[in-house]
């Protein structure tokens, strides 16, 4: 588990902080020593091994906290607002580290956050909690395309509807497929309403929202998008 305020023991060196869980579980000294070095290498902070947390920056502290959380070989890492106290650049580097760990160790990471860019950056699936209940749940791309009311409330945005004319379709395009936009517009007589680019797990995707007047064209378009393996969401509006 890692925390917003890092929760390291301020009066102990980085080494001892990372070693503490293993010490509590009575691992032998050599094993602890080996593991601490491994972990600090993994989170890339080997040069600070004998420093106290008070001389470290926020990002470095969180790296140490991650190393400590991984010390017992758990298969679940819970991040409680872990990047909320960090500046954007440091947030990025900590998130990159989390993604690395997720891939290298095959570790499940549960991220509790209110920062949407964090969700896009590291998560596969998302659940939105509203008044203690799960209000929406699904893959990150789907949820950001669907924009359920709970997400809009969370973002403090009005659920703005586009002027209704048939069916509104939103889909995500990777950067190398942007040439699909004119194709879509021409083939299905679709009006482009909005585009918006953001990174999902470090890869830029462009969200394109179009409106299609003809029902049949809309159906064909959705078939095409499915065939092309693209995430899409359609909403037909009654006006």
């Amino acid at each position: 588990m890692i925390f917003q305020q890092f929760s390291l023991i301020e009066r102990r060196s980085v080494y001892k902080n990372v070693a503490l869980p293993m010490k509590c579980w009575k691992y032998d000294k050599e094993r602890i020593d080996k593991r601490v070095h491994e972990l600090l290498e993994l989170v890339d902070i080997t040069d600070k091994i004998n420093d106290r947390p008070s001389v470290l920056s926020g990002g470095q502290k969180q790296r140490v906290a991650i190393a400590r959380a991984l010390a017992l070989d758990s298969n679940l890492l819970l991040c409680d607002e872990a990047t909320s106290a960090l500046d954007p650049k440091t947030t990025q580097s900590v998130l990159r580290l989390l993604r690395d760990i997720n891939q290298k160790l095959g570790l499940t990471i549960i991220v509790v956050t209110h920062q949407m860019e964090v969700v896009r950056e590291v998560c596969d699936t998302i659940s939105i909690l509203e008044n203690g209940k799960i209000a929406a749940s699904g893959t990150v791309k789907d949820i950001f395309l669907q924009k359920p009311p709970s997400l809009m409330t969370l973002l403090g945005k009005e659920d703005h509807k586009f002027a209704c004319a048939g069916e509104t379709v939103s889909f995500l395009l990777p950067a190398d497929r942007l040439n699909m936009i004119p194709m879509v517009a021409n083939t299905f007589a679709a009006d482009i309403l909005a585009t918006n680019t953001s990174d999902y797990k470090g890869v830029p995707f462009t969200e394109v929202t179009v409106s299609v007047k003809e029902q049949s064209a809309a159906r064909k378009m959705k078939e095409t998008l499915t065939r092309e393996n693209l995430a899409w969401y359609a909403e037909s509006e009654a006006c």
Partner: protein, 220 residues
């Protein structure tokens, strides 16, 4: 009666009194810190949001501590005389002074040490819980480790308090510098003795505080 010369005063009165003061002070600080430390740990563990909340123990301790703190020291010392005699074998002298001093200091120490333990971040304790540390391990590796600088400043504070309180302990014939200032100085109309004794006390307090500050900075 002939007045003693200054040198005689120094060698025969002040020096032994100085040693007595140091003796009383040291033992009082050692014992009351140890007892206060245990009290602080128990209070910290049993408090409402502690590791093992226990309202009865917590309230009982609270009451006991407040009870002792509400006694003026002299009254407490006098009312404790039977207990003192039972434990130390005498109701006068150095040991007879140390016992009531410890009784009155320990609750203060407990409160002060606990207030420093209180300042250990809840999240840090939560983190320790998250990797499965036992209550004992949390106390030992987290709470105590994090509050050591605070505890050191409490000990420094207690040393000065014990130095002052040992003056009053002179009432049961324990002697000490404060006692010299009163008996040989104030009661004997000897300003030189009174102020020179006080001067020694001033230097002592400054010294203790200086050492305390240095240690605190080192530990921090």
């Amino acid at each position: 009666m002939e007045r003693l010369t200054l040198q005689q005063y120094l060698m025969e009165v002040i020096w032994p009194a100085f040693l007595t003061t140091i003796n009383v002070m040291t033992w009082t600080v050692l014992i009351s810190t140890a007892v206060g430390f245990v009290l602080a740990v128990v209070m910290n563990v049993t408090k409402e949001d502690g590791l093992h909340p226990n309202r009865y123990i917590s309230r009982a301790l609270d009451f006991l501590i407040n009870l002792i703190r509400s006694f003026p020291f002299v009254i407490l010392m006098v009312s404790l005389i039977p207990v003192t005699r039972f434990i130390t074998g005498s109701s006068i002298g150095v040991k007879a002074a140390i016992f009531p001093l410890c009784i009155t200091m320990a609750p203060y120490m407990g409160r002060l040490i606990q207030s420093h333990m209180e300042q250990v971040s809840k999240e840090t304790i939560e983190a320790a819980k998250s990797f499965g540390a036992s209550t004992f391990q949390i106390i030992w590796h987290v709470i105590i480790v994090e509050s050591i600088p605070g505890i050191s400043s409490v000990i420094c504070f207690a040393t000065v308090a014990a130095l002052n309180a040992s003056t009053t302990a002179g009432m049961v014939g324990a002697g000490g510098l404060g006692n010299v200032a009163i008996r040989y100085g104030y009661n004997n109309f000897n300003d030189t003795i009174m102020y020179s004794t006080v001067a020694i006390l001033v230097v002592l307090v400054q010294l203790i505080q200086f050492i305390g500050n240095t240690v605190y900075k080192k530990l921090k």
